[in-house]
């Protein structure tokens, strides 16, 4: 959910929009924001599943420390989505376990 109005920070300034693909679906994001922010704004909170027990994981620390939010981005697994900015046409996939390396 985007915060459009804020009593301290004011209205949300319009930024350039880009489109990214998340598990085959196209979502809109603001240029330069972290992938994790774009996903939360689109209502997506589960970013990966664990290797052994297939448990869901999402964003935890949001500053690149905990690695709970990693996903496969443009074919490269284990990308920290909280500190990686979106780019037009980026392909983001829910990661299972350690993910699979794939040529782009």
């Amino acid at each position: 959910m985007r915060i459009y109005d804020h009593p301290i920070l004011g209205g949300l300034r319009e930024k350039r929009k880009v489109s990214i693909e998340v598990d085959g679906e196209i979502i809109e994001a603001y240029e330069g924001e972290p992938i994790a922010a774009a996903l939360l704004a689109a209502g997506i909170r589960t970013f990966r599943h664990t290797l052994r027990e297939n448990k869901p994981r999402g964003l935890f620390c949001a500053i690149g420390r905990c690695t709970d939010c990693v996903m496969t981005v443009d074919g490269i697994p284990n990308i920290r989505t909280c500190v990686t900015p979106v780019r037009e046409g980026m392909r983001v996939e829910t990661q299972v376990g350690l993910g699979k390396w794939r040529r782009i």
Partner: protein, 373 residues
């Protein structure tokens, strides 16, 4: 040409250290792995308080902008998107860097490690579900990226972070179902607690979170009250309809680089656990390596800025850019401001912690060969 001083981390402490030393002529390089400088300052949308000298009445992000302008004026070279992945004591504290393109090395004469702190997790059934987040993480998402990670929130912890972030959640349009605090009293400043209480948010002391429930993501949370021995009171369990559980249960210093270097450590629970031993000028047990801010013991941004300045002046002095007499005068003023900050019921345990670190520093050099115990 290599910088004379590398400052690692561009939060309030790192920025202040870089600005201060650069003012005296030190060639400084400020390194940060993030794409923007400022550390956690830009998500602090509340007004700081204390005295004028401590930026009272100024919001965190405005302090951030001021520091960035000062850094520019002082010609600090800021290197962003660059990770320090190693420090090598055996080769005169050479540092290994990666700027997303290439791996390279730098050999500064002095180092200031200002890497801050990490939020503590808390383990309970369901604590790994999407929708359980650090309170600081939620703050980053809502105040910097303008995205709300949940609509109805349980806050765990009534220290300053828990109280401030709860209020900021309300400002961002979320509902706060309750703040639970395991201790019998509120840990943070009363001014923050009162702001929250005026809005009707219950702050439940002697309460904790037992469980986060939900198939795939948080759908509710169970809380319960605790007796005076911190045992769960049977029958007091309550299920709250929330989709976000925020953990504000303290921070611990991000001191991996100090560990890598072999700095001495000591245990000070009130400052976040194991902290690098340092002297009054913020120098660690390894000569030429300084710490400042939360990495040297978790306190607040105002303290981090003063410690950064202290480290910056000490570096300038050690490199001969400022005379001992002049440096002493400057440092004494900062030390006095730090003492002002560490008085009263919230401050004095921190002063005791810092005093312990200083005692350990003296012991370290009177008892050579003693390692991290």
């Amino acid at each position: 040409m290599d910088a004379e001083l590398s400052v690692i981390g561009s939060g309030p402490a790192g920025l202040s250290a870089a600005i201060e030393s650069a003012k005296y002529g030190v060639r400084v390089e400020l390194i940060d792995e993030n794409i923007l400088p400022g550390g956690q300052l830009f998500k602090q949308i509340h007004k700081f308080f204390g005295s004028k000298k401590h930026y009272a009445g100024v919001r965190g992000y405005d302090i951030g902008w001021r520091l960035l302008r000062e850094a520019e004026d002082a010609k600090v070279n800021i290197r962003l998107n660059t990770t320090v992945w190693g420090i090598f004591q055996s080769s005169n504290n050479r540092i290994g860097l990666f700027d997303q393109q290439r791996v390279f090395f730098s050999k500064p004469k002095r180092l200031v490690i200002a890497t801050g702190a990490t939020e503590n997790p808390l383990s309970f059934p369901g604590s790994t579900l999407p929708g359980v987040m650090g309170a600081g993480a939620v703050q980053t998402m809502m105040n910097i990226h303008r995205v709300l990670p949940g609509r109805r929130v349980l806050m765990v912890g009534a220290g300053n972070v828990g109280l401030i972030v709860s209020y900021q959640l309300l400002q961002a349009g979320a509902e706060v179902a309750a703040v639970v605090e395991a201790m019998p009293k509120i840990g943070g400043y009363l001014v923050h607690a009162l702001k929250l209480m005026r809005t009707g948010v219950p702050i439940l002391t002697s309460h904790t979170v037992l469980e986060a429930r939900g198939d795939k993501e948080v759908e509710s949370a169970v809380i319960a009250s605790l007796d005076k021995d911190c045992r769960i009171v049977k029958g007091s369990e309550k299920e709250l309809d929330v989709d976000l559980v925020c953990l504000a249960v303290g921070l611990k210093p991000d001191a991996e680089l100090c560990r890598m270097l072999g700095c001495g450590f000591t245990y000070v629970p009130f400052l976040g656990g194991r902290v690098p031993i340092h002297n009054e000028d913020m120098e660690t047990t390894i000569p030429g390596v300084y710490v400042a801010g939360d990495v040297s013991g978790v306190e607040e941004a105002s303290v981090a800025m003063e410690e950064g300045r202290l480290a910056g002046i000490s570096v300038a002095e050690s490199l001969g850019y400022i005379s001992e007499g002049e440096a002493e005068k400057e440092k004494d003023e900062i030390k006095e401001r730090l003492r002002d900050f560490r008085i009263g019921p919230f401050g004095s345990p921190r002063q005791e912690g810092k005093d312990k670190i200083l005692t350990e520093y003296k012991r370290w050099f009177s008892n050579e060969g003693k390692r991290d115990s």
